[in-house]
């Protein structure tokens, strides 16, 4: 049997992640210093782990409601209100998902028909474009600009909207660029989104990791709130990546459709993770703030270090990535990362793993201690100096 032929067109159309190739290269090598991970270096706060263990001890091991534990949904909605000033109904407008990833998937599936266009930002997180393709939708990339610090500007947005546009997927603070949209930035694009009448899926997973200004949720603009689908989760802010827990907040009609998909493909998110998350939302804001302070110090250190090296790096206002421009070296992103890995055993991710607009950039994660960052950046500096003398 020719198994290739057995595969569905949709499985064939999606490209393997650009990260994967680099992962294979880096994992074959011994003693690699990695700046390539997209998850916190902090272990989940003990109080969260302890609450989850306790729930297992108490035998709370059954399916929960499809939407997730009501207590958790109530905590999530209170949290969004308290932190970002946006209100949702825990009964009808909130679904607890298996990570933000499931949230993105079911949101797209609930909205996109074959042939519908969905705007995605380039560079952007690796899962968005395949997510659209798996639904038979057409991803329409907007090429963001370094000089705009990878913000979405009104001119770019207007140019991308057509009569077939169904939705747009935003992700600020952004993985991989660290780009950030302030309230003022959003004010410029909200009227366009309202007029176009398209759905805005906003992946706000890095919301808590905002370093300069308070994070602004696009759903806080009352005039388009009903158009917005918020995706968030516990991975980044609460250092809970392996727990796979996220949530969707949106209009009840959209939520109901997403719930239908969720209940067939997932049933309900893991119960111990849900009990842990309740504890996190109730008692871990201080820990979140401590982690944010650490990230901020590391970001400042990296931005200065890369700029001193001669790699232009704007100061990202959120997430835990810097996105240095390596065009001055004359290498492509892929070449730069591969040579850096072979020469100094330092792993960064080429910007192109996040879309063609990432060419000329590398993603450097600062989910590492200052000491580790220091060692790694000294090696990158050596590499750059070697390049210059070649």
């Amino acid at each position: 049997m020719n198994y290739e032929e057995m595969l569905s067109d949709r499985a064939k159309i999606i490209k393997p992640s650009g990260i994967r190739k680099f992962f294979d290269l880096a994992s074959q090598m011994e003693g690699v210093i990695s700046l390539g991970v997209g998850e916190p270096d902090f272990t989940t706060p003990w109080t969260i782990r302890e609450a989850a263990i306790y729930s297992i001890e108490k035998g709370k091991t059954f399916y929960t409601a499809n939407r997730g534990l009501l207590e958790l949904r109530q905590e999530i909605c209170q949290y969004y209100k308290r932190r970002f000033g946006v209100s949702y109904d825990p009964e009808k407008e909130c679904i607890v998902t298996v990570g933000g990833s499931e949230g993105i998937d079911i949101a797209i599936r609930a909205l996109i028909n074959p042939g519908d266009e969905m705007i995605v930002l380039d560079p952007g997180y690796v899962a968005y474009t395949p997510g659209v393709e798996l639904s038979g939708g057409i991803p329409v990339p907007i090429t963001l600009r370094h000089e705009d610090e990878f913000k979405l500007t009104p001119d770019l947005l207007k140019a991308a909207i057509t009569s077939k546009t169904k939705a747009i997927l935003l992700n600020y603070p952004c993985n991989p660029t660290g780009g950030f949209m302030t309230k003022e930035d959003y004010e410029k694009i909200v009227p366009i989104l309202k007029e176009a009448g398209i759905i805005v899926i906003s992946d706000e997973i890095y919301a808590e990791l905002s370093y300069e200004e308070e994070f602004c949720s696009i759903a806080s603009f009352e005039e388009i709130k009903d158009q917005c689908v918020i995706i968030n989760g516990f991975s980044k802010a609460f250092a809970m990546t392996g727990w796979r827990l996220g949530y969707i907040l949106c209009h009840p009609i959209l939520s109901k459709a997403m719930l239908k998909i969720h209940q067939y493909i997932i049933m309900s998110a893991p119960s111990p993770a849900q009990y842990g998350a309740i504890e996190g939302l109730k008692h871990c804001q201080d820990e979140v703030e401590k982690m944010r302070d650490s990230y901020k110090a590391r970001r400042n250190f990296l931005v200065k270090t890369f700029n001193d090296m001669g790699l232009a790096t704007f100061k990202p206002q959120g997430a835990f990535y810097v996105f240095p421009c390596i065009k001055s070296t004359g290498l492509t992103s892929d070449e730069f990362c591969e040579q850096l890995l072979n020469d100094q055993k330092v792993a960064c991710v080429p910007g192109t793993a996040f879309g063609p607009a990432g060419e000329g950039f590398i993603r450097v994660s600062y989910a590492y201690s200052l000491e580790e960052l220091k060692v790694a950046t000294e090696k990158i500096k050596l590499f750059i100096e070697k390049l210059k003398t070649k």
């Binding site: 880096a26 401590k290 200052l370």
Partner: protein, 196 residues
């Protein structure tokens, strides 16, 4: 053994409030400013961090960081740059005891004068005034149990105003100043090398 009374609690509470008042005055003088919070946290994580790295992490000039450090040292916000040593892993004999101390307050001084009489002893490592059924928690270090016992009996218990002591010897140290000192898998980072 003294019985814990509401009156005693109030006396102590009053003392604690005085501490808070002094702290407020310090803040009003601008000794502790917000930007110092991150500086202090970074130093707490690693007292040996280089000034240049501190400056980069805080987006400040080296001179400014040095100036802030000097000021914070002068105001005793920074009380030292000590090393956390796990003596258990060396062949040094060291005995630690926690001693509950009961004491009667004095007019005008409250517990402060008695406390100063105690904490000045070299053997005293750490000392707190507490609410509850005894007044002071005193952590004492010595080379042997006999040495510590001798200190308690001949010095600490004899301080005027001290009405009783209970001594507890430490058997094992698990965590000190936020650092876990025993073997523990926790925090062992097994993240994948590259993830999206």
């Amino acid at each position: 053994m003294k019985i814990y009374t509401y009156q005693n609690f109030l006396k102590k509470f009053f003392y604690n409030t005085q501490i808070c008042n002094t702290m407020n005055i310090n803040m009003k003088r601008g000794v502790i400013v917000m930007e110092d919070k991150l500086l202090l946290r970074l130093l707490q994580q690693n007292a040996r961090i280089k000034i240049t790295d501190l400056a980069a992490a805080l987006e400040e000039s080296k001179d400014h960081v040095i100036e802030r450090l000097t000021e914070l040292e002068k105001e005793k916000v920074i009380c030292g740059y000590h090393t956390i040593v796990n003596w258990d892993l060396t062949n040094t004999e060291i005995v630690t005891a926690l001693i509950e101390v009961n004491a009667s307050p004095e007019r005008e001084y409250g517990y402060d004068r008695i406390a100063s009489h105690i904490y000045k002893f070299e053997e005293v490592d750490t000392m707190y005034l507490l609410s509850g059924s005894f007044e002071f928690a005193v952590i004492v270090k010595g080379k042997t149990m006999q040495e510590v016992a001798h200190f308690v009996a001949s010095k600490l218990a004899c301080v005027e105003g001290v009405t009783g002591t209970s001594t507890y010897f430490v058997l094992k140290q698990y965590k000190n100043n936020g650092v876990i000192l025993v073997e523990d898998e926790d925090g062992k980072n097994d993240r994948l090398v590259v993830t999206p």
